[in-house]
């Protein structure tokens, strides 16, 4: 059977300046953090990042944006990462805002071989600018185009050695459809298991879709940085009360 487990160096050898990359990142959480750290070290730049949000300070995609490695973001929300707004208003980064349901459908369409989808979302707003509007059965719909990328950079809760992926609870988010929409699927894995350990019904992304597994070297499931900060605040408040 094909080996799919690679070192950080082998993974980084596939990531280049100017690529379009789908990030699993949700406000800096769920990101392939060790690979992103590697990208920073390697000096990868001029990335087009496609992600549901643009990270948080010091977290996930946010780090690449803070270091100005990203030239364009296709996203639904940048509110938690001030660096994105600053660079956007300064004309240093291009931002395409996409309604979140449309974001999901466009990437899914890209991965599922659809030529586009018709959605009512955004009709009558600036989102419709430059898009074809079809009037069908008494209602207006925007024709939205598929999104694809060179790489999908994901973060799985578990993977087996064949490459089957499982994402625990809300870690699934966009990762199942992102895996379908990239030429190369690279996954940072929290826990590697033997083939057969994942229930066939539990697998979100089947092995043949996955190209490269990189096993996290650091803590498997660390507390999110922003939650650590919240916990410190709560504790200090509790201490004041006493």
């Amino acid at each position: 059977m094909k080996n799919k487990i690679y070192t950080l160096e082998q993974v980084l050898a596939k990531i280049h300046d100017g690529q379009r990359i789908l990030f699993s990142d949700r406000h800096g959480q769920l990101a392939a953090d060790e690979i992103i750290e590697g990208m920073l070290q390697k000096g990868v730049k001029d990335i087009t990042a496609i992600a549901i949000t643009s990270g948080q300070p010091g977290m996930g995609l946010g780090r690449l944006i803070e270091e100005k490695r990203v030239k364009r973001v296709e996203t639904t929300h940048i509110g938690l990462n001030p660096a994105t707004s600053q660079q956007m208003f300064a004309g240093e980064i291009e931002v395409e805002f996409i309604p979140q349901g449309t974001f999901a459908e466009r990437i899914r369409a890209g991965g599922y071989g659809l030529g586009g989808i018709l959605t009512p979302t955004g009709v009558g707003t600036i989102v419709e600018k430059g898009k074809e509007i079809l009037h069908l059965r008494g209602k207006d719909y925007l024709l939205e185009m598929p999104i694809r990328a060179d790489i999908a950079l994901l973060r799985a809760s578990k993977a087996d050695k064949a490459g089957n992926l499982y994402f625990r609870k809300t870690n699934l988010l966009c990762q199942d459809y992102m895996a379908m929409a990239a030429d190369l699927v690279i996954v940072e894995v929290e826990e590697l298991v033997e083939i057969g350990e994942l229930d066939p019904e539990q697998i979100h992304v089947p092995a043949p879709i996955v190209d490269m597994l990189y096993i996290r070297q650091g803590e498997k499931r660390p507390m999110h940085l922003n939650w650590q900060r919240m916990i410190e605040k709560i504790k200090s408040k509790e201490a004041e009360k006493r």
């Binding site: 949700r26 929300h77 009512p120 979302t121 809300t170 199942d176 507390m223 939650w227």
Partner: protein, 218 residues
């Protein structure tokens, strides 16, 4: 006890729901609705990350790093709740499966337009899932303070900010009154204690009519 201010808004909105409704509540006042639900009314709260049946924020010792809400905050799933794929959670929204959503806003107008996602050149966090809610949910309830911090009406003849949704708002609830949107005009349905129709005219840019009995907001 008579509610006032934000509490009154949340309490009034809570009365729109019936047992078993599938709803999406924005952060802030909208989410406060759950504190004022009538006896016997349980809701299914949707979180766009894929949770059906969002629960309360647990104590920090019980946070699960794999259970976060759309704002990347710790959350929980109620007993009987489920976690579905992200594209399906927007299938619920766009497909009309959500009975109602409650949104805060910057502006709302008499045509049912709502603008709550950006101020050009100043603030542009992105629309997140708000445009999908506006486009797909049958009942879009706006829960907002009647005026902005400078005292200007947030309920306008025509929104001046970029829209989040066009002709989609069905109900507007403020701390002063409750309007419904009826074919491009507002109808005043209820007044908060201490307010008269003239008071509302004085603080509302939008035009509205009175059609039938005006109730007491509670």
């Amino acid at each position: 006890m008579a509610y006032t201010g934000r509490e009154l808004i949340a309490a009034r909105c809570a009365r729109f729901f019936k047992d078993g409704d599938f709803v999406n509540l924005g952060i802030g006042v909208p989410l406060m609705c759950t504190n004022y639900l009538p006896e016997g009314v349980d809701l299914w709260l949707e979180a766009e990350v894929g949770i059906v049946g969002s629960g309360a924020t647990p104590h920090y010792t019980e946070w699960d790093v794999d259970v976060a809400d759309a704002g990347a905050q710790p959350t929980s799933v109620i007993k009987g709740g489920s976690i579905v794929p992200h594209d399906k959670s927007f299938g619920f929204i766009r497909g009309g499966h959500i009975d109602a959503c409650v949104l805060g806003t910057l502006q709302v107008d008499q045509e049912g337009n709502i603008a709550n996602w950006m101020i050009p050149g100043k603030v542009a966090p992105g629309m997140g899932g708000a445009m999908d809610l506006c486009a797909g949910v049958n009942r879009v309830i706006v829960a907002t303070e009647h005026c902005d911090k400078k005292g200007a009406s947030k309920i306008l003849k025509k929104c001046t900010l970029p829209l989040t949704g066009a002709n989609c708002v069905t109900d507007i609830v403020t701390e002063r009154c409750y309007f419904i949107v009826k074919e491009k005009h507002l109808v005043l349905k209820e007044l908060a204690e201490g307010y008269t129709v003239d008071d509302i005219r004085a603080c509302t840019e939008a035009e509205f009519i009175v059609d039938g009995e005006i109730g007491m907001m509670r």
